[in-house]
Point group: C2
Chain length 122, copies 2
């Protein structure tokens, strides 16, 4: 509780830039996916793409793989563009409905994909 | 994990109406205050006021005191307008800086105020 700036507003997390492990800008946080009951942020939704011949896509990233970097004023993920290009992504309608019946399978897909890159889910 | 609609987008929580225990609309969720490290939503920021001679104010509500009501399509808090009128509130600049040095005291103020109304903080 004595840490400086321990809390951040969701409205500020949205629009925060996200950089890859080489320091290149790969996208921005578009939204957050929150567990209704516990209030735990499960995913940051990364708006990614517009390069490598990929259009803009929405990638749910497990919250734990984001690391805030003061110098870059943004989040760093330990992934390169190629890793993200192969990552699970969804369209806006699917993300609106996230957490529904099929969520268990998508949740496993996402955490298994990122498991090799970051901490395992709690 | 098998629950329907277990997850909600932050962009949808923002703008969700909030009703008091009598079913009257008291405001809307303006923003969420999130612990940077854990990703836990600590407060929902309620935009409250415009009646009882009170201008619009921003009230951090502990996440746990919000209860989603399907019929009303919004959150219900077990508080009346008078209780909220006396509750800790902050201006937008203060909320931007929430979680800084003085946060420990404000956090205690907020949770002590709402402690009598809802579950104790984790």
């Amino acid at each position: 509780m004595a840490d400086d700036h321990k809390l951040i507003l969701a409205s500020r997390v949205e629009h925060t830039p996200v950089f890859d492990e080489e320091g290149s800008l790969i996208g921005h946080v578009r939204d957050l996916s929150i567990d209704r009951t516990s209030g735990q942020v499960v995913y940051a939704i990364l708006s990614f793409g517009g390069f490598l011949g990929i259009g803009k896509r929405l990638h749910p990233l497990p919250w734990d793989i984001l690391s805030y970097n003061e110098k870059q004023h943004g989040y760093v993920v330990g992934l390169g563009k190629a890793d993200l290009a192969s990552a699970p992504h969804y369209d806006a309608d699917e993300l609106e409905g996230f957490g529904g019946e099929q969520h268990a399978r998508k949740h496993r897909d996402i955490f298994e994909y990122y498991g090799t890159f970051g901490p395992p889910p709690i």
